[in-house]
């Protein structure tokens, strides 16, 4: 096969852009949280400083090979699922492999990192970390169901499982799925609350009770790689939602606007809410979001 320089540039640029945007979003979220709490708050590039600092830690410890590989699993899942999502609509450089995979693949690819991290976390032998993993997996069973309901509704509505077809189906402003199938949108956004892991669904990483849960034994380069992967993964998820419900984006300006708009929902829900217990959050996801998802499917079916 011949070298396609545009695609190669895309392969190099996409993770960098995703990382920068994701990190900046994280900083902005910290700033917004501070403002809501009547504080001045850190600068938007605070998370970037944090990650550079973590990368420049001189020492690191691990409890064995699985913990050593855990962050590698995480970043593999993030970057791979990023490459299979069309970042920009019909642009060769920024919709890289999206024709070679589909939504079912993305569903499972997104779990890949969580599973790898859980294995790495398991080897630390830290009880807090294990409790965090148990809570995280249980909560995942909660929010995956409404998310899948929304996705199935969309896939059946548009008779495709590929994101590009879904994108091309919502070329007009009025064709966006948020208008075409609002119940799917609601179910998806409620599931996004659980995916993003802000309050009230932050029982997994609860710093006060679990000593930050799963990553409690990770420091230095491991934590740095985890946070990098987290930033990229946040951007990937937001782009996926923008593609699914808001008709994607033609250029990065629109993309940033849409993803930021989507991101603000879990953030603003998070800053004003206390924390759910695990079973409460699971039952929450099995009540209203699932009901909306079933409504979405019924709306498609009849």
């Amino acid at each position: 096969m011949e070298l396609n320089w545009i695609k190669i540039a895309g392969f190099i640029l996409t993770p960098i852009i995703a990382f920068v945007v994701g990190v900046t979003y994280g900083g902005i979220v910290r700033n917004i949280t501070a403002r809501v709490q009547n504080r001045f708050g850190p600068p938007p590039w605070q998370n970037l400083f944090d990650i550079i600092k973590l990368y420049s830690k001189k020492t690191a410890i691990n409890h064995g090979w699985m913990q050593h590989l855990g962050p590698a699993f995480a970043i593999t899942a993030s970057i791979t699922s990023l490459f299979f999502i069309p970042i920009l609509r019909d642009s060769e450089m920024f919709s890289l492999l999206s024709f070679n995979g589909d939504l079912i693949f993305l569903l499972y690819m997104m779990v890949f990192g969580a599973l790898g991290m859980a294995l790495g976390v398991g080897q630390t032998g830290n009880p807090n970390a294990a409790i965090g993993v148990s809570r995280g997996l249980s909560q995942m069973v909660g929010y995956e169901i409404p998310f899948v309901l929304a996705l199935v509704a969309i896939m059946i509505q548009y008779q495709t499982t590929n994101l590009n077809d879904i994108l091309s189906a919502q070329s007009q402003f009025t064709d966006w799925i948020i208008f075409q199938n609002p119940f799917a949108f609601i179910a998806g956004m409620l599931a996004l609350l659980g995916m993003m892991g802000y309050a009230p669904f932050d029982v997994v990483f609860a710093p006060a009770e679990l000593a930050s849960g799963p990553p409690s034994e990770f420091g230095g380069k491991y934590l740095a790689l985890m946070q990098t992967s987290g930033s990229i993964f946040a951007f990937a998820k937001l782009t996926l939602f923008a593609d699914l419900f808001l008709g994607g984006a033609e250029n990065f300006g629109i993309l940033v606007i849409k993803t930021f708009a989507i991101y603000m929902f879990p953030v603003f829900v998070g800053v004003v809410n206390p924390r759910f217990r695990t079973e409460q959050s699971i039952q929450f996801f099995w009540k209203w979001p699932t009901a909306f998802g079933i409504l979405a499917i019924i709306m498609v079916a009849w």
């Binding site: 970043i75 995979g101 080897q123 032998g125 079973e279 699971i282």
Partner: protein, 616 residues
Amino acid sequence: MISITGILGITFGAALLTFLLHHLVPKLRNIVAILAIGATGYIAWQLPIDSYLLHFTVGSFDIVLGNSAYSQLFAILVAVLGLFALIYSHDFMAGKERLGYYYMNFLISLGGMYGIVYSQDLISLFFFWEIMTWSSFMLVIYCCKDAQKVGLKYFVFSAIGAYAILIALVLIYSSLGSVTFIKVFTGFSSMSFGVQLSSIILLLVGFGVKAAIMPLHVWAPAAYSRSPLAFTAVFSGALSKMGVFGIGIVLFKFTSESGYFSYVQTTLAWIGALTALLATLYAVFQTDARKLLAYSSVSQLGYIIVGLAVGTPMSITAALFLVILHGAFKAILFFATGAVYYRTGSTDMNEVTGLIRKMPFTFFSALLGIIAVSGVPPLGGFISKWLLYESLIENNNYFLIIVVFAASTAAFLYLYRFIFSFWLGQEEKEFVDVKEVPWTMKGPMVILALFTLVTGLYPGLLLAPISKAVAYLGVSGVSYETSVLFNSWGNKIDMNNVIAMITVVFVSAFIFLSIKNRKRTRYVTTKDIHTSGEIPKENENLTYKLDFYKPFERALGNLLKPSVDKIYNRIASNLEQAFDHLRYIYTGNGQTYAMYVVVFLVILILFSELIFGVKL
């Protein structure tokens, strides 16, 4: 020698030979068994397809044994799993008593499976079915003294299934005059509606017992957790697939014009989906690894039933793919459990912990195994899940896919618990001198693990025979390339890109982690964790294990309280009271179970006689 006679002769002959050799030269016993199954596997591989290689008449019954692509798929599954299990048994069963008994029954059950997959008429099918059932029953009660109760449960349900098949056979014979598959496939639709419906239902019940679909599954966890783990791999991987084999034939060869057929399919699909979901939820809360894997097998068979019952080309392909792959990864997981049992003497997930540094190969195989079960790319499990979901979506089974997906998401819970409890967590003091298992136990695990990897890379290799088998079932196959799969909407999944991406990113991240300040990256023991400055003592293990999924249990509430097992026990006790005054004929509990079976038989006969007017 390349014939079905050869296969059956070698297998049953080797069975007797091992039993004799056990008393004469025990060294040769294992070798003979392994060589025999290897040879039969080779023959099954070489056997020409669509050839009726054995045909004779007993009384007025034609006995036909023949080979087809569909049969060959299952035969090779049986051969490979049997071979690996026998190799594994060489060290795993070393030093146990009554090994002649063990090997003989093992080979007889393998021979029974061969006979089932090659039989082209219901008579020989029933015959070999009974052989398989009895020999596996012998192996279930092999382990220990208190296994009789468990074995009894298995026996009762197998008997129910066998009688159901027998009655269906009689019904069909009485109305067609022959039970060879050729006659039955062509003439089935000419039978009266009642006979069609009753025979199909009876056959589905009979095969569904072995396939452990939900109301008939209660024997499975007990039997799987009692039989020796080397055989449990075959039990769950191949023997339970015989039910799938039969269901496939019933659903797609016993075709008929009348419209009830789709209802049967839909009902079966929903039964399968609920089987998958409930069995998964039961598996999450098990503490014994064998029971966990047993419930996991039940749920995986539920997926297979869904795939078969939906009946689109893609779903059948998914089901057969999962048949093969479930054989592989469930064998890996049972072998790994056996390896842990072999070294630590326990399969209780609350006792054993922190073996990853002691048994790296076992951990690696088990890791690939659970990734394959969970369906995470790039392993083969993802391909089967992908095919299943795509087929369900195309077929507009909106809610079926939700149930199935909920099941496969909840599967992450028990899979993580399985691998976490045995290999991860803090290292226990009493397991410091545990060593890796010998190569005869390592080898099968690692080879099967690599097989799951290869099926993920090149699903086409496995889809080629499967599409032939699907074609035998009378449906056009699914379009695929060596590593690219398409659904009927034209969407594709290209495993080349997936593998390339995952490999590149993972390897680069791994290299980065490894070389970045390598000098000052230190390994610390699992005792050296953040515990607010306290140092855990030697004898205290801080691993969080008991009630690992308590929050999830609370979230489920009373969903899992009613158990099918209890219902059966209540029926049994009621029957015991009902037949209390017949105690001079039947006494004791076991006979009550037998009575239960007989009454079942009588009811079915009256049922068919009174309603459908079929003379028995």
